[in-house]
């Protein structure tokens, strides 16, 4: 069994090209997940890189969200779940006994399909978690952090005059950017996004995509999407899941233009059925 995250296994990217080798942020080894008796993920091996956007694609129910939730131990909240295998983040297995899942989630932020701001003011939405984590104290430093996060999320100009209004009063796209700002404010290394634009109109989607491209300068981003164009537009790497298996994982261009597996090609070209 592979335990050394630096081993190159079948599903890691082939770096024979002259490209600069990207820095590995997450290494998944032999990951299996069970919902009770339902074996939802089978022997997943995958390396995920820093400052890149990795897209997870695949038909509904194939385990994309499940896999994503493994990366910040959100699955621990579901009673029936059992996880086998290893997920190394910065060379530390987050499923080790001495790792607290709360601190994992602090470093691996998550943005959900439906925008879910807290029913509090815009300001409180962003400042709540950093205050609780003790990153900042109430007052100037907190104000600065809120402003910085909202600027990064591209929302500052739209909300700077109404920070005390409830976050739920914003439009769907604005709410989603507020959720991203809230995630950024905790200063994670990795941002997980589960279909972040599927509830949004094209213009809001475009803004979020632009935002993702900006954010990858600082973070590793892993996003689930059902939108092939979106994967093509933003993702550096794409992983195709099918019925709990990771079928193919390569840079986006390869997956879309020259897929190695028949299943991938069928799915990409819309012949999957």
């Amino acid at each position: 069994m592979t335990t050394n995250p630096n081993d190159i296994s079948s599903n890691t990217i082939d770096d024979s090209s002259a490209q600069k080798i990207p820095e590995t942020k997450i290494t998944v080894r032999d990951l299996n997940l069970y919902y009770g008796d339902n074996h939802a993920l089978h022997n997943i091996d995958m390396d995920i890189y820093k400052n890149k956007i990795t897209a997870l694609i695949g038909p509904s129910g194939c385990g994309k969200s499940t896999f994503l939730r493994c990366l910040n131990r959100m699955n621990d909240l579901i009673n029936s779940v059992r996880v086998d295998g290893e997920v190394f983040i910065d060379n530390k297995n987050i499923y080790d006994k001495d790792v607290d899942e709360v601190s994992v989630r602090k470093r691996v932020g998550m943005v959900f399909q439906q925008p879910n701001p807290f029913p509090k003011s815009i300001y409180d939405n962003v400042s709540y978690a950093p205050l609780k984590h003790g990153f900042v104290k109430k007052g100037n430093s907190c104000n600065e952090l809120v402003e910085k996060s909202l600027i990064q999320a591209g929302l500052w100009e739209e909300v700077k005059d109404k920070l005390s209004q409830p976050g739920t009063s914003l439009s769907g796209g604005q709410q989603q950017r507020l959720c991203i700002a809230r995630t950024i404010a905790v200063q994670p290394d990795i941002i997980l996004m589960d279909e972040p634009t599927s509830a949004l109109d094209p213009i809001s989607t475009e803004k979020i995509e632009a935002l993702m491209l900006e954010l990858k300068e600082k973070y590793a981003i892993i996003t689930v999407t059902h939108n092939m164009q979106q994967a093509g537009r933003v993702a550096d790497y794409t992983a195709f899941f099918h019925m709990g298996d990771l079928i193919e994982y390569a840079d986006t261009e390869t997956i879309f233009i020259n897929p190695g597996k028949k299943k991938t090609e069928d799915y990409i070209t819309g012949r999957y059925g």
Binding site: N72, M74, L77, N79, V102, S103, V104, R105, K106, R107, G109, M110, V111, F112, Q114, N116, P117, F118, P119, K120, Y128, A129, K132, H133, P166, T168, C179, R182, T183, V186
Partner: protein
């Protein structure tokens, strides 16, 4: 298209012969449901109307303006304070109070005052139009005084400032109201935090295993237990085992807390469950601990629902009589309880006591007591609705 008559029928593409039958069936069903509502409403109107007709007179009481002399002699023998001819008209309870009056305002001593004096319940009932056997001598005085405007119905303050009394015109609801307040305070202080905490544990923290299922089933069973059994439990545990004072608001409140607990737990759980999971996910996704998520995000959202459920539970406890009778809160309590350890009675128990009295004045007070109790209960329910509405618009 052969002939005109046929044409009109077959040309209507929406014509359906079975439809008129189905429509009339629907109409019959509607009439039936409306009849049911009318029945239910008329019962309610009849009950409320009867209560109001019977109870309203109790909010007025007859007073008579006569001369009262305050001196050593009349304090020693209070009957002598008033003219002999009024002795069978004026209330004994009022006369008995003369020494207290002097004690409160000493300047009354050695004076004669023209005062409004409480009359006894027979005269009062006569004034309210009910026949009473009153001797012709007194009857003449009553008619005279009434004609002069010196005998009239005034607002019945006594009903709210006195406790129970063996003298009907002197009996009031005050000690029962205070007893009810003290009892419900104990109930809330015990049941609210316990109920909410239990609900939070079961809904947010507990795993779904045999043990929690067992607790859950038992809580639901608790809600179905006849209330009188809670009285027996209270008697056995709080009074006999722990030796807490009998008839006290403390024991009554604890007993009612046991009864209210399942209501609070069930409604709090429903309120917690109605908080969208996405809020919890958002919290956990930010690396918050369970307690932070529950305390700062879930509970505030569930709070209006919890409050509504608790107030309804409180209203429920307020109207409860049977278990309190068992633990002795039916006692004759002329003086209001000063603490939760003293003997007390509660409003429904007081109503129950009065309902068993033969005098017409008590019948009147029974109905009036029910009116007061109902008003409080309706206000509590209204408060629950207002609270829910108010918290809802807050975000």
């Amino acid at each position: 298209m052969k002939n005109i008559n046929n044409k009109t029928l077959s040309d209507n593409p929406f014509y359906d012969p079975s439809l008129s039958k189905r429509h009339s069936k629907a109409r019959r069903f509607k009439i039936f449901t409306i009849t049911c509502i009318v029945f239910a409403l008329s019962f309610l109107v009849f009950f409320l109307g009867d209560m109001i007709v019977k109870g309203l007179p109790a909010f007025q009481q007859s007073y008579m303006q006569i001369d009262v002399s305050y001196n050593d002699k009349t304090i020693a023998s209070t009957r002598k304070a008033i003219d002999k001819k009024y002795r069978r008209i004026v209330s004994r309870a009022w006369l008995r109070n003369i020494p207290n009056q002097v004690e409160e305002s000493p300047e009354l001593m050695n004076t004669t005052q023209s005062t409004w004096v409480l009359v006894n319940h027979q005269v009062d009932q006569y004034m309210k139009g009910h026949y009473f056997k009153i001797k012709s001598k007194e009857l003449k005085i009553i008619e005279d005084m009434h004609a002069q405007g010196k005998l009239q119905l005034q607002f019945n303050r006594i009903f709210f400032t006195q406790g129970d009394s063996k003298i009907p015109e002197n009996s009031g609801l005050k000690s029962a109201i205070i007893g009810s307040i003290l009892t419900l305070l104990v109930t809330m202080v015990v049941a609210f935090p316990m109920g909410v905490m239990t609900a939070v544990y079961l809904e947010e923290f507990a795993d779904d295993n045999r043990w929690t299922q067992f607790i859950e089933v038992n809580i639901n069973n608790l809600a179905a237990i006849p209330s009188i059994l809670f009285g027996l439990l209270g008697l056995a545990v709080f009074i006999n085992l722990f030796g807490l004072p009998r008839s006290s608001p403390l024991v009554g409140g604890l007993t009612l807390a046991l009864m209210t607990l399942p209501i609070i737990i069930v409604s709090s759980r429903a309120a917690l469950r109605s908080v969208p999971d996405s809020i919890r996910q958002a919290g956990y996704g930010l690396g918050l601990t369970k307690v932070q998520v529950v305390q700062d995000h879930v509970l505030p959202l569930a709070f209006p629902g919890i409050m509504t459920g608790s107030i309804i539970g409180l209203a429920h406890a307020m109207g409860e009589t049977a278990p309190l009778i068992i633990i002795g809160m039916i006692a004759f309590i002329p003086d209001s309880p000063g603490s939760i350890f003293e003997a007390a009675t509660v409003m429904p128990a007081q109503i129950f006591t009065w309902a068993g009295m033969p005098e017409r004045a008590y019948i009147e007070r029974t109905a009036a007591g029910i009116m007061v109790l109902l008003s409080v209960l309706i206000s509590l329910n209204a408060l629950a609705i207002i609270l829910r509405k108010k918290f809802e618009v807050k975000w």
